[in-house]
Amino acid sequence: MEPIEGKAYMEQNKRSRGMKERHYWEEWTGRIYTSVCVVFLVAVIVSIVYFVASKGVATFVVNGVSLQEFFFGTKWSPDGEPKSFGALPFITGSFAVTVLAALIASPLSLCAALFMTEIVPKSGKRILQPAIELLSGIPSVVYGFVGLTVIVPLLRDVFGGQGIGILAGCLVLSVMILPTITSIMADALSSLPGGLRESSYALGATRWQTIARVIIPTLLPALLTGIILGMARAFGEALAVQMVIGNAPHIPQSLLESASTLTSVITLSMGNTAMGSVHNNALWSMALVLLLMTFIFVLLVRLLERRNRI
């Protein structure tokens, strides 16, 4: 008995040493591989930021367009005489559609998320979640086309005017950002810190009291994160908006008049302008503004996350 036992022990010992060695190499190949990926990713991000920034800054440094003209000028005529590069109409357009889209989409998303997590968790998750995931899978050009064929004529018939404009743009956008906001809100709601909901019920609160006075106030930062990420998506969306907003480089008098956003102007003109020309550089400056806005959105999300932890 004894010698066999000793042999088995040695065998096991040998095997575990082999395993240890193999784990060691596994560990390090894995670590090296992931580090390389991270370095590559960082390099890509840095080079993108550098590229956009260098092109965007050229408008002001090389071509001598003043910052004041770019950010506060209302006249955009890059091919006119004299040329002018006022991007204010596009900046206002971008903010207008983004804020309006968030105003329309957020309450709907909150209701959908509450329905999924608080009211009928089972069937809600089974039916609503796939439906919402489906929404996020539809390409934006389809949204744009639906907007152009359904929403624009509808608005024209109901309100008169062109139908095209900020209202059409924000309606299309609100549907597009619905999945983003809903899924983030639903995640936040289902990860509610343990016991809060139960304590509320235990104190005799009704479901609506619990939702309105406990769940929503506690999760407010997380819910806002969803809205801000939705807004970031809306701010950067180009194709669908470009099709329904009309793209006139002016600040519109009404929601039903042709307007532009930063992204719509970029997609509309970038290919037609020669690299290095003032017009092209001015478009890159707008891209830089978009990039900076994205940074701000990310920053806001980070700040909210920090508040959420406390």
């Binding site: 670590r31 090296i32 580090s35 290919g271 302008t273």
Partner: protein, 307 residues
């Protein structure tokens, strides 16, 4: 001691990764050079052709490219066609990234420098017409009426003898080649973007908007015009192929395929193929362009017309 190993390994891998990126970049031009030398084996042409630019010209070049590669003589040549717009095409051909730059406008109208180095190959003609929503009740506009509409001085169709309907301008972005052609040859002047005007770059969207929006006016290449919109006569002249060829109808432009310097042999073979009767008499006409061979007038970059 052992703990430092991973860091050393990591740094080494990073260096290798970066070096690999570097050498990959260097490798690309060498590859091109290699195909370049292959061409000198004159008997059978081989090589890659990259044509980039104008989306208006893209369908023709794509279709011609497919036919070209199917020809036995040229099966060693690969033609690749990309869109991206005239500006992109001209920038890339003058920067050497593309072999051919497709453009709707003359290079010197778009490029600030380097246009002199480019050689122009005009492969087709595209004519445009002002089009309006069918319900506006106007079918013929004089030049100065068009100018006043597109500069915002006439704002109601009533003022040009049509229905009492506000005019909605469906324009192209100011950088567009189609707009440049329309402004230069139909209006004779540049126009500003008016408040309330609509801008779209895709001809399909422009047509849809003009067909559906009450009081809309815009302009389209002849190949896009169908019975959902009304093509307006220009000073009484109808926009059709014959009138363009005979020089009676002025709103047209060449489609250009630019090469940097004289084209290499395999690129020249492709350009010659597009200009051959095989493409000019069939594909060019089928796709709604006008063959350059049929034109009885010529026009230079400054707009001077010669018979």
């Amino acid at each position: 001691m052992l703990k430092k190993w991973p860091f050393i390994l990591m740094t080494l891998t990073m260096v290798f990764a970066l070096a690999a990126c570097g050498s990959a970049n260097n490798a690309a031009p060498q590859g091109d050079a290699a195909t370049g030398t292959d061409n000198k084996a004159a008997t059978e042409l081989t090589g890659n052709i990259l044509a980039v630019g104008s989306t208006a010209l893209q369908p023709l070049v794509e279709q011609a490219g497919q036919k070209f590669m199917a020809v036995d003589k040229y099966k060693g040549i690969a033609v690749q066609v990309q869109g991206g717009g005239s500006g992109t095409g001209l920038t890339q051909v003058s920067g050497g990234q593309a072999d051919i730059g497709n453009s709707d406008v003359f290079a010197k109208e778009k490029l600030e420098s380097g246009a002199d180095e480019l050689v122009d190959h005009q492969v087709a003609v595209v004519a445009m017409s002002a089009v309006a929503n069918p319900k506006v009740g106007v079918a013929d506009l004089k030049k100065d009426q068009l100018v006043q509409i597109f500069t915002g001085k006439i704002t109601n169709w009533k003022q040009v003898g049509g229905a009492d309907q506000k005019i909605v301008i469906v324009n192209r972005p100011s950088s567009s080649g189609t707009r440049a052609t329309f402004e230069k040859y139909a209006l004779g002047q540049k126009t500003e973007d008016l408040p309330g005007s609509i801008q779209e770059d895709s001809s399909g969207t422009v047509k849809k908007l003009i067909a559906e929006t009450p009081g809309a006016i815009g302009y389209l290449a002849l190949s896009y015009i169908d019975n959902t919109v009304t093509a307006l006569k220009y000073d009484g002249v109808e926009a059709n192929v014959e009138n363009v060829e005979q020089g009676k109808y002025p709103v047209w432009a060449y489609e250009h395929m630019y090469t940097k310097g004289e084209p290499k042999e395999h690129v020249k073979a492709f350009l010659d193929y597009i200009l051959s009767d095989e493409i000019q008499k069939s594909d060019v006409v089928d796709l709604g362009y006008i063959p350059v061979s049929g034109m009885q007038v010529k026009r230079d970059a400054d707009g001077n017309i010669t018979k």
